[in-house]
């Protein structure tokens, strides 16, 4: 449904998007994950024909952003980052206006406005001015606007930014409810969001594509034990000293549990199984090993690892 080929965008000398390629299949929810200024908004603006790419191409539903911009735009619903509205318009007139612009025929317009309003839970605010709505309702108005005309593809730029936790859950559920009929590309800089809503994730940083996979795979792939937790009975200094000298250990952080019992968090080299060596070293030196296990890394840490330059995830 969406096909992006070596997309590059310069703002003057600034390279905001750097040679990005990916595809979104029909019916998929793809998460676009990256820190601020990664180039998420820029990519989405290119896909929605708000901006032209400096190099590369993109097609949505088979329509090219250069050649068939008008046809392409008929098939997408777009929620821009800051959810722009015309503050003086009431919700109903606002949606009605976009229904006109999107070419819904006169007789069907009313029905279409009611349909999207109901879908997004706006029935009770239809006669309120859009400028006076709470952030949560404003977001819903933006989503309703995107749904007008029943487009095949939805492009949502940080749909949950600036909402309180309850509103976030509501908006997420709303987006999930669209997912049965639509192809969705959604961007976020909040990590749990993608694991909760998306089937696949693209991680983008400084305009470059860093990873593209399912949240589960990213998780598994990166969790190959970069970190080990051990509990050892005995003097902290000597144990730390011993552990530090095991091959493949980068750093050791002790934590006192109770008298003479310490827990150690170890950063280890990527792709090396150091646990047998660690166990051996501890026992050989006459200490009691009580526990040894790999530390589960959260998606947050994976994200940081992928988007920070420093190796080994120490860039926290």
């Amino acid at each position: 449904m969406i096909e992006v080929k070596s997309l590059t965008k310069y703002y003057g000398p600034v390279r905001a998007v750097d040679d990005i390629s990916f595809q979104v299949k029909k019916g998929e929810i793809l998460g676009f994950l990256g820190p601020n200024a990664a180039g998420k908004t820029t990519t989405m603006r290119i896909l929605t024909c708000y901006l032209k790419p400096t190099f590369g191409t993109a097609t949505v539903c088979g329509f090219d952003v250069h050649k068939n911009s008008l046809e392409l735009r008929r098939r997408i619903g777009y929620l821009p980052e800051n959810v722009p509205i015309y503050p003086e318009m009431r919700v109903r007139t606002y949606l009605h206006f976009w229904a006109e612009i999107k070419g819904i025929p006169g007789k069907k317009r009313r029905g279409e406005v009611n349909r999207v309003a109901e879908r997004c839970g706006l029935e009770n605010v239809l006669s309120r001015p859009t400028g006076k709505l709470s952030k949560g309702f404003r977001q819903r108005v933006g989503l309703a606007q995107a749904l007008i005309g029943d487009p095949e593809v939805l492009i949502l730029d940080e749909p949950t930014v600036g909402l309180d936790p309850k509103q976030i859950i509501e908006v997420r559920n709303l987006i999930k409810s669209f997912s049965k009929e639509k192809t969705i590309l959604l961007s976020t800089h909040i990590l749990p969001e993608v694991s909760m809503t998306c089937g696949r994730v693209i991680i983008i940083n400084e305009g470059k594509l860093t990873a593209i996979d399912t949240p589960e795979n990213l998780d598994r792939h990166l969790r190959k034990s970069h970190r080990v937790i051990m509990e050892v009975k005995g003097a902290c200094e000597s144990v730390t000293h011993i552990l530090e000298h095991v091959d493949g250990v980068q750093a050791v952080r002790p934590l006192r549990i109770r008298e003479n019992f310490f827990s150690y968090t170890l950063d280890t080299d990527i792709g090396k199984e150091v646990r047998p060596l660690l166990a051996e070293a501890v026992i050989k030196n006459g200490f009691n090993l009580l526990e040894i296990r790999p530390l589960e890394m959260s998606l947050e840490e994976i994200f940081l690892k992928l988007t920070t330059q420093e190796a080994g995830g120490k860039g926290r």
Binding site: Y11, G12, R45, T48, C49, Y50, L51, K52, L70, E71, R73, R74, I76, Y78, P80, N82, P84, I85, Y86, P87, E88, M89, F97, W98, E100, I101, K102, G103, Q145
Partner: protein
């Protein structure tokens, strides 16, 4: 159809903000003031003339009141039109709604025409209300309506040209004040090059005088609807709309 949707929304936006009412009030009050002054002056002169009837022959209401009134109106239009056009694109840029507008299935030409027509409608309304003044004149004195109507046709054409220049400039910035000032500066420049035409001899002077936005208006105010003047204003309107669409397109490549 989409042009009409844009047009409607723009008109409503004008009337919810106080700006439209302020502009309307300024326009009517200042022009009313000019009108009152000139009309009183005319009455004074005609009373003086009544004592010397042979001198009164050359006195005409149109020459003494209507024509200067149109000239004053054109100065006020120069001041007021930037305030009408400043918001057209600048406001949408500022609020971000331009992103929705440009990603909706409608062409830049349609938005440009819709916005142009909305500002023009406002200007038409303002001008229409000033017909009150010549009407008052006609009740107390005899007035030739021909030059009045031709003056209004010229005034509307000139206003249209001003608006399309203002529209193009409003695509440049997200700041309405900047848009208004730039438009004002631009209009003033094209207004004044007519003056310098007097010092430039030959073809150069003719070109300058041809380009001047105001030079073409005087014929209308005198009661002459010259095709050349009409063509001039229509081409400025077209050029302004064309530039607007070009600027919008180029802004997609830049940022």
């Amino acid at each position: 159809m989409r042009v009409f949707s844009i047009f409607k929304r723009e008109i409503k936006a004008y009337f919810v903000s106080p700006i439209a009412y302020v502009i309307l009030a300024i326009f009517l009050i200042i022009i009313g003031f000019f009108f009152y002054n000139m009309f009183m002056y005319f009455n004074l002169r005609s009373m003086q003339m009544a004592q010397y009837p042979y001198m009164a022959r050359g006195m005409s209401l149109n020459e003494m009141v209507v024509r200067p009134l149109f000239q004053n109106m054109s100065v006020i239009a120069l001041l007021v039109i930037p305030m009408l056009t400043m918001r057209l694109y600048a406001e949408e840029k500022k609020s971000g709604t331009i992103e929705l507008l440009f990603t909706a299935p409608l062409s830049d030409v349609e938005t440009a025409i819709g916005k142009f027509l909305a500002a023009f409608f406002m200007f038409f309304l303002m001008s229409g209300l000033t017909v009150l003044y010549p009407f008052i004149m006609s009740r107390v004195s005899t007035i030739e309506w021909g030059p009045v109507w031709s003056g209004y046709i010229g005034f509307l054409l000139m206003g249209g040209a001003f608006i399309s220049i203002g529209l193009a400039i409003s695509t440049l910035t997200g700041n309405q004040i900047v848009a208004a000032l730039l438009t004002f500066g631009m209009l003033l420049f094209f207004w004044m090059i007519g003056w310098s035409s007097e010092f430039v001899s030959g073809a150069g002077g003719n070109v300058l005088s041809y380009l001047s936005l105001i030079e073409h208006f005087d014929d209308f105010a005198k009661g002459v609807c010259d095709t050349r003047d009409i063509v001039y204003y229509l081409s400025v309107i077209f050029l302004g709309l064309f530039t607007t669409v070009q600027m919008l397109e180029s802004s997609k490549w830049r940022a």
